[in-house]
Symmetry: C2
Subunit: 212 residues, 2 copies
């Protein structure tokens, strides 16, 4: 019984790691689709989003099952409980990546991001990917050292988001369609980074019992 | 012991109802602040958002405590488990209301919503409020009849959001700042309605065991 239980907890964590890796890849590919007007990459992200949503629901079902059948206590209870919230946050991150991909598909073959904003968008995309990679690593290892970095990275994403919105609004040459797209896209990256910070605070809670 | 347990479950549900009512009021007042350029209402929503965030965290702590100390089974387990997700969704709804209020404050005393879009914004605001009221009622009563309405109402919010974005983009007289604001605001209402649908599916799950 104990062994089956340990295996169940291990499976749940492995599924969460897969979901987190999926969320990382989804935003990476969606950003590539966006910044290189790559229709095929956009469509792959959208299709992959569906299967990741199924994986997210599966994680939650697994967590409910462990709670119902094993009634875990203390650290295990925290872990299972956190898994529910983490799977929900990760599923939202996938959803945000899909929104980015949908924007790229909607405007294809036109580029959405004006040339002078390519760099801040690339930086937001890179930060989101690095942040997500840190979370995957923390999930795998239960090591918390690196996730201290996340708050600083999240602040930088917020800064970049404000920068692109301010700049697109200030530019007289901007057309309105583009400005709206840029503002919404900035918001998707900002939310994605926020969700990563939420996931990190859940990991801190289940590893250490501390509230982040 | 049983009595303390029943009382704990009752308290948790009462706190969730308060949080849901808070989320309903927050969006109602934020919409009023937005559509009548009422700075004071905006500031009240922003201040209230802080205390509702504390209530959300409290709901979650309560749920963890019940799980840890009482190890509920079957229907009670579903209920406690759902409470965690519901409190997270409701907290996000409060956060979205605060975003609306912040937009109103940022542009005060200028109106943000162009005159010809007042009506669709009012309808989005009204729908969000009615949807949230249905959820509060379902939480209180565990009656599911009325929440069948939510999907249709959510579709209408999505429709209105697309309408305001399309219209603001098509209008040559729109300035870019306004277009960006309108697009982001539309997005906040859309997300708010989505979150209500999520909450409703959690309520269906805990009351009936069915996945919505």
């Amino acid at each position: 019984m104990r062994n089956a239980y340990t295996a169940q907890l291990g499976d749940l964590n492995a599924d969460l790691c897969d979901l987190a890796t999926g969320a990382e890849e989804a935003m990476r590919e969606a950003s590539r689709a966006l910044l290189t007007a790559d229709l095929r990459a956009a469509e792959e992200v959208i299709a992959r989003g569906e299967s990741l949503a199924v994986l997210g629901a599966h994680c939650e079902d697994e967590a409910v099952k462990v709670l119902a059948l094993q009634a875990p206590v203390a650290a295990d209870l925290r872990r299972v409980f956190s898994a529910v919230r983490i799977s929900s946050d990760l599923a939202r991150m996938v959803g945000l990546s899909v929104h980015v991909a949908e924007a790229a598909r909607r405007r294809f073959p036109d580029p959405i991001v004006p040339e002078d904003l390519t760099e801040p968008f690339e930086e937001m995309a890179r930060l989101c990917q690095e942040m997500c990679a840190l979370v995957v690593q923390a999930l795998r290892s239960s090591e918390l050292d690196d996730i201290e970095e996340l708050d600083r990275m999240d602040d930088r994403v917020d800064e970049l988001k404000s920068l692109v919105v301010d700049r697109v609004v200030a530019d007289d040459a901007t057309n309105v369609v583009n400005a709206v797209d840029v503002a919404l896209l900035g918001r998707y990256y900002e939310r994605y980074a926020d969700q990563i910070v939420d996931v990190a605070s859940r990991i801190v809670f289940f590893v250490s019992g501390r509230k982040h």
